[in-house]
Symmetry: C2
Subunit: 394 residues, 2 copies
């Protein structure tokens, strides 16, 4: 298998966009292409991650439209959809194109414009990734699944609402240092949990999860340029290798799992990614986790192997996952505060980690970061992709 | 690059389906899995080709749902969308997974349920693959683009309506021998062109294209099992290798092409596929072309290199592309009569060719077929994938 490198990364600021879908993707693509400075090296392939274009934006064949907008023909192009893990799935597809030798340079761009729809339609759209017969038709939504999961996890492991709030506060703090984040709003324990005004500031969404336990609905796009070793060696700048990728699926319906608190797909995907990278969780200096809901950052950090089961909330209490801590988690602000334009998220995680490994993460830089980990979590843990990046010295 | 084999192929009969989308895909998948007889060899990856699930069937994360329905977890899974070329794009993604070494066995299944929507919504859905700003918003539909293209092609190369009718008649005849075809209806030159009743039987859709120049709107699913050489050697049955795959994009808007009759992406994709397979068009014994409209079979057969420009209609007149002719084209009945469930088509082409190379094509078997070619045509020629299959003797 040929080694694969990320030689460029770029994104739009997440939030609200007035651009057409293809231009939003084009903006992130151009940022990544500029970052890579390919010169005359052509882009052989384009992979677009998107979940809602057909339904929300009435656009299919988005990959062809993007190739046209960027005048990249005759580059091969297609779109990949894998629910909220669409971004990492697209990176994996691009990875395989380069690893197999079918392509030398691939642009992978994730994009979503979710704010084009109103609240109920948006909730229904996101719920369309649940099981069609035993979840969706009964009105299950993703926040409701997350609420049930949180209740069980909290009762089993002694996690309290203040731990969930700590995750939100940390990620909002991190996002203050990220100019690309959707939400620039510091929050406090008093403001969202302990003061009398907290119930107004932070209303219940799906018991026990409140507003600030949930990621926002965002528009945005993020892109990376993947390249073969030959190409990567010709370019300047630090070299970031995709050292390992692992993917695993689990039952589509959450209630069919023997232990719903066991994020089996996160565990298996992470084990595969670490094995391929010849690394272990303790080697990781910085991680981006899929905190669509605060409880997920806690649960995923355990399933990925960073903490023992039921121990992550104690590490969070000790500040270990903050910038400056032992293992900074979501220095970007995570889905919670950077935002979660569904198709873009998995790519945005790798954009942040590429910047971290290249030492380009400005105020939120994790010192001496050489190994990085990302978890992109599809459905409710039914399709997960873990990625391990490694900085290679020249 | 590791060699990749098709070790199993299966499909549903195209036409109308009452099954849920995931079950329709599951039915074709099970047929392909049964054909492959993998025994205890696990499926490592699943790639689903689908264009309309999100909009038409309110289902996303279809790949996860299918893994669950077939109990294939923890297999990696994602969906691929590339307009009408989604099928071959998904095969290419599966090919790269095996070729890179990320997977040993991959199920690729294309599926579409188009008859769930009414006519106007269906036409609008298909048109969503056109250019959003210079085609779609002006009301362009795929038949209208094809009509303009046909008019230009006919005036430049002396193609007449009777040549278009010959393509339709041939493909309807071929479909009579294919139990999986949507349309089992023999048609005649009198019935659709020369008799007084022809204008009633075969009304104009988009001048000069009439009803029988256009593919039907179909539901259906088709699947192939891809495997590494190690696995292929362990299984019984003839060995069909994906010897070459080429993909190319062109301008998204048809009118921006210097010569709209030059299907540049078909030409480039075919050149790449033949070069990779170390073969030439004259080596091909059987071909499946993307005849969404009759004129396309003519134009593609030239762009792929089987005939000189402007010569294909003469070869059709001589019967060269019929079963029993020099180069049988669309023995399955093609999109015209086998049907065109968009995401399934590119996979169905390879299902037919796999059966042909294995000698399992019953009444429509092309004798001594060893090299086969498929063209899956996305958008209006803006994203094309060509595939060359080769039978390897054991």
């Amino acid at each position: 298998m040929r080694p694969v490198y990320i030689v460029g990364a770029g994104m739009t600021r997440f939030g609200r966009s007035e651009l057409p879908l293809v231009d939003l993707a084009g903006t992130a693509s151009l940022a990544a292409l500029r970052h890579a400075s390919l010169g005359k090296v052509p882009v052989d392939g384009v992979v677009v991650a998107n979940m809602g274009g057909s339904r929300i934006n009435r656009q299919t064949a988005l990959a062809s439209a993007l190739v046209d907008r960027l005048a990249l023909y005759p580059a091969a192009a297609e779109a990949v959809e894998n629910g909220p893990a669409s971004g990492a799935s697209a990176v994996k597809v691009g990875f395989q194109a380069v690893a197999s030798g079918m392509a030398d340079v691939v642009l992978v761009v994730g994009v979503e414009m979710m704010r084009a729809v109103d609240g109920l339609e948006g909730t229904d759209f996101v719920a369309s990734l649940s099981h069609p017969e035993v979840e969706y038709i009964y009105g299950v939504t993703l926040p409701s699944l997350a609420g049930l999961f949180a209740r069980l996890y909290m009762s089993r492991f002694g996690v309290e609402r203040r731990h969930l709030a700590m995750v939100a506060i940390k990620n909002h703090d991190h996002a203050m240092k990220n100019p690309y984040a959707h939400i620039h709003q510091p929050i406090t324990m008093e403001g969202i949990l302990t003061s009398p005004e907290a119930v107004v500031n932070n209303p219940l969404v799906a018991d026990p999860l409140c507003l600030f336990d949930c990621c926002p609905v965002s528009d945005g796009s993020a892109a990376v340029i993947l390249a073969s070793k030959d190409i990567a060696e010709r370019l300047s700048g630090p070299r970031v290798r995709i050292a390992g990728m692992g993917q695993a699926t689990d039952t589509h319906a959450v209630h069919e799992r023997e232990d719903p608190t066991d994020l089996r797909a996160v565990r298996l995907a992470s084990e595969k990614a670490f094995a391929m990278a010849d690394a272990k969780p303790a080697d990781v200096h910085v991680a981006e986790l899929h905190d669509a809901f605060t409880i997920l950052e806690i649960a995923e950090s355990e399933a990925a192997g960073f903490f023992k089961r039921g121990e992550a909330h104690k590490a969070i209490e000790r500040g270990e996952t903050r910038l400056g801590g032992r293992l900074p988690v979501n220095p970007s602000g995570g889905l919670k505060a950077r935002g979660h334009p569904v198709g873009a998220t998995g790519v945005a995680q790798l954009v942040e980690l590429t910047w971290q490994l290249r030492g380009e993460a400005t105020d939120r830089q994790v010192e001496k970061a050489k190994v990085a980990y990302a978890c992109n979590f599809g459905g409710f843990g039914n399709n997960v992709i873990a990625t391990v990046l490694r900085k290679e010295e020249r």
